[in-house]
């Protein structure tokens, strides 16, 4: 019996228009439109796209709850074997929509879901641990490679066949670690790798270490006694109650709080919400992580001009590089507008 698929795409791939049509409202069409047709073709004979859902990227972002509700109702009514969205490549709003909808369908309807997007798409940053997201190039010229990979993995999910590693199947690593027995002990493999490296030969690393961008150091402060110094931290020191609900891990927001009139952080007024270290010392005296008392001391002594009246906080525990970069840019913008001269960044 043919497998039934419901497919989600945005206004561009649905042929409605480009950015100017990003506010196109939700449309549920029968049959296959755009990439859905390519997906069905790669699948082969026993696949039927019953419905293609088209929605403008802005419209989705502004009405996501209602749209998810409508899509869930359709899925519950039609009972497809699979839900597919995208691929979104590097389109951020689209990628977020694809991943957000797939995640909801996976959770609420318990059917296999699959999507595809560029590794750095915010949708991938948010949902790669929860979903199979086929890794694509960063623009639609990668459609030819993306769709067959999506179809191949989707078939495995629908027919219950074993899913291999991220590298083998082409999805963005989900953080699963699967143990396998190697032919040789680690020490032997490590020495072989080192020998190749020393000889300048190619080798394949077993653990990929992220390379980080190097930037030029900012120039030093020349007159500290007139400088405004700000505190920015990823160590999660927040007012008691965590008013902005910063998560203990995989934080997706940052917050700022006033230090006006605050000279010493007291137990009970602040708490540490970073899930990656024991916050009990921080909770007993939050200055141990956010050194307000010391900075106020130096302000009084005239060693610095002043402590900036706002501090910035997030939790850097598994928070994605993409998110941290975004937070950094946003916070840096505020510091620049406030003419802050230097920043101390307590980091756990």
């Amino acid at each position: 019996m043919a497998k039934k698929v419901i497919y989600y795409i945005n206004q561009f791939f649905g042929g409605i228009g480009g950015e100017e049509a990003a506010s196109a409202p939700l449309r549920i069409e029968t049959g296959m439109i755009g990439p859905a047709a390519g997906f069905a073709r790669f699948w082969g004979e026993d696949c039927v796209i019953s419905h293609t859902i088209i929605c403008g990227d802005n419209y989705y972002n502004e009405n996501s709850s209602d749209i998810k509700k409508a899509i869930a109702e359709l899925v519950q009514q039609e009972k497809p074997d699979l839900f597919v969205a995208g691929p979104a490549f590097n389109a951020g709003r689209y990628g977020y929509a694809c991943a957000d909808i797939c995640h909801m369908i996976q959770d609420s309807c318990q059917i296999p879901v699959i999507t595809g997007m560029y590794r750095e798409n915010p949708g991938a940053a948010m949902y790669k641990r929860d979903l199979y997201i086929i890794e694509t190039s960063n623009n639609a010229t990668g459609m030819r490679e993306a769709v067959p990979r999506m179809t191949a993995l989707a078939k495995k999910l629908v027919y219950g066949r074993p899913v291999l590693s991220a590298a083998a199947e082409g999805y963005i690593p989900r953080g699963f670690r699967l143990n396998e027995v190697a032919d040789e002990p680690a020490a032997v493999r490590a020495v072989e790798m080192l020998k190749k490296k020393l000889a300048g030969e190619a080798f394949v690393t077993e653990v990929k270490v992220e390379k980080y961008e190097q930037i030029a150091p900012a120039p030093p402060i020349h007159d500290l006694s007139h400088a405004t110094i700000a505190l920015v931290t990823e160590a999660g020191v927040v007012p008691m109650g965590n008013p902005d609900r910063i998560k203990h891990a995989n934080a997706d927001n940052w917050a700022k709080y006033s230090l006006s009139g605050v000279y010493d952080l007291k137990e009970g007024d602040y708490e540490g919400v970073h899930g990656g270290f024991d916050a009990s010392w921080c909770n007993a005296d939050p200055d141990r992580v956010l050194p307000v008392d010391a900075l106020r001391y130096f302000e009084k002594e005239g060693y610095i001009g002043k402590l900036y009246e706002t501090y910035y906080v997030t939790v850097g525990n598994g928070t994605s590089i993409a998110d941290c970069t975004r937070f950094g840019k946003e916070i840096a913008g505020e510091l620049q507008d406030a003419k802050v001269d230097g920043v101390l960044v307590p980091s756990s």
Binding site: Y212, R288, V289, Y303, L344, S347, S348
Partner: protein, 76 residues
């Protein structure tokens, strides 16, 4: 931190994990206490702990005033 430096505001990372800060490429790194209390030394009695913190923060403030060309570690 790098985004702050990118726009020209000097920043000092205060951390017990200086090797990570260096690998990531932070320009000015102040070695702190321990991971859960990087601006303190909780083995000290309270008044000496406060003094330790001031010494640490003074070193970090001085780091903000120091010219660097690559990731540089500062100790109190």
């Amino acid at each position: 931190m790098k985004e702050i430096e990118r726009i020209g505001i000097p920043a000092v990372c205060i951390t017990a994990m200086s090797s990570i800060a260096e690998a990531v490429g932070n320009s000015r790194i102040q070695i702190g206490g321990r991971i859960p209390y990087m601006c303190s030394d909780v083995s000290l009695p309270p008044d000496r702990e406060a003094e330790y913190r001031r010494r640490l923060i003074k070193s970090a403030l001085n780091a903000l005033c120091t010219e660097v060309t690559k990731p540089t570690i500062f100790t109190p």
